[in-house]
C-alpha cells in the first residue's frame, strides 16, 4: 500500500476544488441574477468568455506545476496537476457546450460548418478533442497501464495549450493585449522546459 497522503495535501486539494469550482458557481449566480448580479447584455458571449478563459488559465496552471516542483523540490505538487487538468477539460467542455447549445441551438450543420470553415473554431475544437484522451487516461490505473507511453501521450498538453492560445487570439477583433499575455506566459512555460532539456543533455554529454 502507498504511504498515507499527508494532511496538508488533502487540505490544499479541498481548497483547490473550491477555487476551481468558483468561476462556475459565480456564473450560475450571475445567470440567476442573484443579488443584482447579471451576465450583462450578451449573456451567451459572457459565458463563452468566462468558460474559455478559465479553461486556458487552468491549462497554464497545469504547466506551472513541473517547473515549480523542480525549482522548489516540493515533489508533492505533482498531486495537484491532475486536478487542474481535469478542471481545464471541464471548462473547455462547458465552453463548447455554450457555443453549440446556447449560441447555435444545437444546429449541428452550423456547428460542423463552423468547425470546417472557421480556422479559429477548427483550432479550438481540435484542442478540445485532444483533451479527451488526456482526461480519459488521467486515472492512476491508466497511468500505470500505459507506463512510459503515458508521459509521451500527455506531452499533447503542449500542443493543446498552443492551440488554445491561437484559438483565443484569432477570434479577437482588434485588441490583442489579452491573448498576447497568454502567449507570453505560455512561451515562458515552454521555454523553461526547453532550457531544462538542454541542461540535462549537456550534463549527460559532459559525463
Amino acid at each position: 500500500m502507498a504511504v498515507a497522503t499527508p494532511r496538508w495535501v488533502i487540505a490544499v486539494k479541498v481548497a483547490l476544488w473550491a477555487a476551481c469550482l468558483a468561476p462556475f458557481a459565480l456564473v450560475v449566480l450571475r445567470a440567476l441574477e442573484f443579488h443584482g448580479l447579471s451576465l450583462g447584455a450578451d449573456p451567451v458571449q459572457e459565458l463563452l468568455n468566462v468558460f474559455g478563459k478559465t479553461a486556458l488559465n487552468l491549462l497554464l496552471l497545469t504547466l506551472c506545476i513541473t517547473p515549480i516542483r523542480r525549482s522548489t523540490g516540493i515533489n508533492r505538487l505533482i498531486s495537484f496537476r491532475r486536478l487542474f487538468g481535469l478542471f481545464a477539460f471541464f471548462y473547455a467542455v462547458l465552453h463548447f457546450t455554450t457555443y453549440a447549445w446556447l449560441d447555435l441551438g444545437f444546429a449541428w450543420d452550423h456547428v460542423f460548418e463552423d468547425i470546417a470553415k472557421r480556422p479559429y473554431i477548427t483550432v479550438g475544437f481540435t484542442a478540445l478533442l485532444l483533451l479527451i484522451p488526456l482526461a480519459a487516461t488521467s486515472t492512476n490505473r491508466m497511468q500505470r497501464a500505459l507506463g512510459r507511453n503515458w508521459v509521451k501521450l500527455h506531452r499533447l498538453v503542449y500542443v493543446i495549450a498552443v492551440l488554445g492560445v491561437v484559438h483565443f487570439w484569432w477570434q479577437v477583433k482588434r485588441d490583442i493585449s489579452e491573448p498576447l499575455l497568454y502567449a507570453f506566459l505560455l512561451t515562458v512555460l515552454l521555454g523553461v522546459r526547453l532550457h531544462h532539456a538542454w541542461t540535462l543533455r549537456r550534463k549527460a554529454a559532459s559525463q
Partner: protein, 319 residues
C-alpha cells in the same frame, strides 16, 4: 438657412464664412431690438436640454420597427466605443469624463457653407423624432434601439454641398484627456467614418442626439452622432466634431485597421461572411440565455428602402 441644395453652385458663389456668421449675428441683434419677430430667426425646435428630457417631446416616426426595444440598461452598458476602452462595459465606466457641452462641429470641404458651428446652431431648425431602428453589430449580435434625431439629409442641405461632394466623412473627438482609450494605439485616432453622399442623404440616415426620449448617454456617442441602420454599427460615427465633404472616398478607421475584414460599405449582408465568422445569423440581445439566434436580414431588414443605392454594385467585392 433653409435653402435647397444647389448642385450647380460654383466655388465663387460660396458665402464667405465671416458673412455667414455675420448674418446670424445681425439677425440676432435685429430680434433683440424687436425689429424682426423671433420666429423668423430661429424656430427653436431642437436643443440639448440640461435636464435630459427633450421639450417638446420627440414625435413618433411612422417607420419604426415593431420589435420590442432593448432596455436602456442594455443599450448603455454594452458598447463598442474604443475611445473609452475595448471591453463592452468600459465605455459605461469611463465615458463620464467626456465633456459634451460646449460642443461644436467643424464643417469643411466641398460645401457652400463651411465653418465651425455650435451644437445649438446645428440642432435649432430641426424637429426631433423618435425612430426605433435595428442595430446589427459586425460581431453578430443585434439590438433594437429607440433613437431620437432627425434626418442627416436635412442638416446636409443647410451646408449646400457642391457637385464635387461625392462623399461625406465624419470625425469623432479624440481627446486623450477625456478619452482614456485614445492613449492606446488600438485604432488610429481620430476615429473616422464615411458615407457616399447618396447614403448620407438617404432619409433613414439619422443625426442622433438621444435615446429613449432623453439625451444620449456619453457612451452612446453624445452629444451628436449619426445612425445608419442598414450598415454594421461601426459605420455610425459617435461624438462627431467634424463633417467633411469630399470628392474622394474617405479613409475609415476599421478599414485602415483590417482592410480585408472591414470594407468601406460594410452593409449588413448575411451572404457575405466576415473572413473569420459567419454573418448569416445574429444573437438578438435581450432575449436571455436561451433565446434562439435569428437569421440576419439583407441590409438589416431595410432592403426595400436602401437596396436601390447599390444597383449594379458587386456587394461581395464591395463589402
Amino acid at each position: 438657412m433653409r435653402t435647397k441644395p444647389d448642385t450647380r453652385i460654383k466655388p465663387s458663389d460660396i458665402t464667405p464664412e465671416a458673412t455667414f456668421f455675420n448674418r446670424r449675428a445681425l439677425l440676432k441683434t435685429a430680434v433683440a431690438a424687436g425689429l424682426v419677430p423671433s420666429m423668423m430667426a430661429t424656430s427653436d425646435a431642437a436643443t440639448i436640454p440640461a435636464d435630459g428630457d427633450f421639450n417638446p417631446k420627440p414625435k413618433k416616426w411612422a417607420g419604426s420597427v415593431t420589435d420590442t426595444p432593448n432596455t436602456l440598461k442594455d443599450i448603455s452598458t454594452y458598447n463598442n466605443y474604443y475611445e473609452f476602452g475595448t471591453g463592452k462595459g468600459d465605455p459605461a465606466v469611463n465615458a463620464h469624463t467626456l465633456k459634451t457641452s460646449p460642443w461644436s462641429v467643424q464643417v469643411s470641404g466641398e460645401a457652400g457653407k463651411t465653418g465651425t458651428f455650435t451644437l445649438e446652431d446645428i440642432l435649432k431648425p430641426h424637429d426631433l423624432e423618435e425612430r426605433i431602428y435595428r442595430l446589427r453589430c459586425v460581431e453578430a449580435w443585434s439590438m433594437v434601439i429607440p433613437w431620437v434625431g432627425f434626418p442627416l439629409a436635412d442638416l446636409i442641405k443647410r451646408f449646400e454641398p457642391t457637385s464635387q461632394a461625392k462623399y461625406v466623412s465624419f470625425l469623432t473627438l479624440a481627446d486623450r484627456n477625456q478619452m482614456p482609450g485614445v492613449r492606446t494605439s488600438v485604432l488610429e485616432w481620430p476615429y473616422r467614418e464615411g458615407l457616399t453622399i447618396e447614403e448620407a442623404m438617404h432619409p433613414l440616415t439619422l443625426v442622433t442626439v438621444g435615446v429613449y426620449g432623453k439625451v444620449l448617454p456619453n457612451q452612446n456617442g453624445a452629444p451628436i452622432r449619426i445612425v445608419v441602420p442598414w450598415k454594421y454599427g461601426f459605420k455610425s460615427a459617435k461624438s462627431i466634431v467634424r463633417i467633411h465633404f469630399t470628392d474622394k472616398r474617405p479613409q475609415t478607421s476599421w478599414n485602415m485597421a483590417a482592410p480585408q475584414e472591414y470594407g468601406f460599405y460594410s452593409n449588413v449582408n448575411p451572404k457575405v461572411d466576415h473572413p473569420r465568422w459567419s454573418q448569416a445569423s445574429e444573437r438578438k440581445l435581450g432575449g436571455g440565455l436561451f433565446a434562439a439566434r435569428a437569421p440576419t436580414l439583407m441590409f438589416n431588414g431595410y432592403a426595400d428602402q436602401v437596396a436601390s443605392l447599390y444597383t449594379g454594385l458587386d456587394l461581395a467585392k464591395n463589402y
